[in-house]
Symmetry: C2
Subunit: 322 residues, 2 copies
């Protein structure tokens, strides 16, 4: 059985998006539920998701573990797995990890771009690694089955997390920086360490992570995938598209600035290009998985490996979460 999984989307959720994901035949999507929300605000987001599940029960349901990916395949639906792009919902309270897990959280980034209570983000000048609280949090996440996601973290923090965690960790959405030097992309050393601990990299389709941005060619992306597989092995690479479908630019401004600054921070963007970047035309939305399939085959991947990259690897990774 082959599964199709997009292991990171942060769309403006609506029936339209869920339908597009079904047209793309996605069996599972890891969705970002929160960035900077605290625990109470997280509960509000969950209520919104309750409504989505109720109103779109023919298309989606809440995924709890890998069996729900199988169920989704069978029922021609998409299993939705909750994740956080920052650790804000657990505030300064280790007890809240259990609470968010109960509500469905299966992935949590230890940091967004800045320093958190747990580790250092990739936009900080210095990286002190996983903190005292971070070590305790990782222990608890391992115990409960919440994946440590280091997509937006700095390098030493990520290497620390790989070492400290008793279970494989994930970088759900980023690319290698040998291909495109963005602060958010990752070094070969880090990718090797990730792979040798059986961790997963989800390749990102977000223009700021792509060589030539919106104009990135499908061939270039697939060549990069092939070189990444040379570094990490074919079992540790998947897709985490970072699709932000239908989001207004005010959202990316909030993602970057949260409530931590009175100045304006442009993150991966710039003053002249502050909004969401356009997607490359071969990956406007998840239906671009079809193009990825073609592109990966054209670059020389066999069917089995294409299926691994487009979902089976993530499916196997989910088997180890609990």
């Amino acid at each position: 059985m082959n599964y199709k999984i997009d292991n990171l989307q942060y769309c403006k959720w609506s029936r339209d998006v869920f339908q597009i994901n079904r047209e793309a035949q996605l069996d599972a999507v890891h969705v970002t539920v929160v960035y900077h929300e605290d625990y109470d605000e997280f509960l509000e987001r969950i209520k919104e998701w309750d409504t989505h599940f109720e109103e779109n029960s023919d298309l989606i349901f809440l995924g709890k573990d890998f069996k729900d990916i199988e169920k989704a395949k069978k029922e021609k639906k998409t299993a939705i797995f909750f994740g956080f792009q920052n650790c804000s919902p657990i505030e300064d309270d280790i007890g809240l990890i259990e609470k968010v897990h109960e509500k469905g959280c299966r992935f949590m980034q230890l940091t967004y771009n800045n320093q958190s209570l747990l580790a250092t983000g990739c936009y900080e000048k210095n990286d002190s690694g996983v903190t005292n609280f971070g070590k305790e949090a990782i222990k608890e996440m391992n115990k409960l089955g919440v994946v440590i996601d280091m997509s937006h973290s700095a390098e030493k923090s990520t290497l620390d997390a790989i070492e400290i965690s008793q279970k494989p960790i994930a970088i759900t959405h980023a690319n290698p920086n040998f291909w495109y030097k963005a602060l958010r992309n990752k070094s070969n050393d880090l990718l090797k360490a990730l792979a040798s601990s059986k961790g997963m990299l989800g390749l990102s389709l977000y223009a700021h992570h792509l060589k030539d941005s919106t104009n990135c060619r499908l061939e270039s992306f697939c060549e990069m995938a092939a070189r990444t597989v040379e570094i990490m092995g074919v079992d540790n690479v998947g897709i985490g598209s970072d699709l932000c479908l239908f989001q207004p630019d005010s959202v990316v401004e909030w993602m970057r600035n949260g409530t931590w600054t009175k100045s304006k921070n442009y993150g991966e963007g710039s003053k002249n290009r502050p909004g969401f970047p356009k997607q490359p035309e071969w990956f406007i939305d998840a239906r671009g998985f079809k193009n990825l399939e073609t592109g990966l085959k054209n670059i020389g991947f066999n069917n089995e490996d294409v299926n691994k990259i487009l979902g089976n690897n993530w499916y196997n990774f989910y088997k180890g979460i609990n």
Copy 2:
């Protein structure tokens, strides 16, 4: 005019404590209002203080600036200045700095012992310095008149704060580590940088910061004060006793563990000595200021310098807060 100021106490507040402080002729005390409390919990602590002010208006009132120290002297009362030992009440929201300032906050530590969103605490393994949010917070604290207190912070973070802050910062309660090597005590280099930026050090009387702990001799403490003055100059040294009068041991356990760990952390204590340490007999409470006066004179300080150390330096520092 000479003023007596204890620039750090965290007692179990009651009329008894306020009376003792009056017997000690303290014109001002910087009191710790919160450690790990978030904004809402901070408001609860403020309500408790409203009651204290109401019930003990013959002894204390809320101090807002240096003029309230003068007023206290005139009225034979103690002006109470609010401070935080962690930045928890501002959560991840720079806008809350203005709110806590409105409620009276005049000192805020950027960190307690662990990493915070603003900087690194002295109990972390690595110190990445003041963070992106930390830089923004310092700007805001400077603007509003909230003193940056680095008593529990790591060295690089403290040096960063000295450099970034447009106003002098404070280490309200710590000792030099040339005298006693505790994680909380400070290096000569740091003390020099602090003094050359017109920052203040409040010498601590908390046993874990003292050479020979509870058995520390008054002479030894005063010799240390004399050597510290050689390093920092006589205008930059005061007292921040760190008195925790009448606090039960459960409080020190909470101070160290907050809600960040499921293991037990002993901080400056140890498994065999987990509670509050006993005060040295010459400084059981603030009435020990009398002994300090004698001790400092005996070690060779003249009257003017003794008065500086016991309060006038802090008074002058308060003049520059706003």
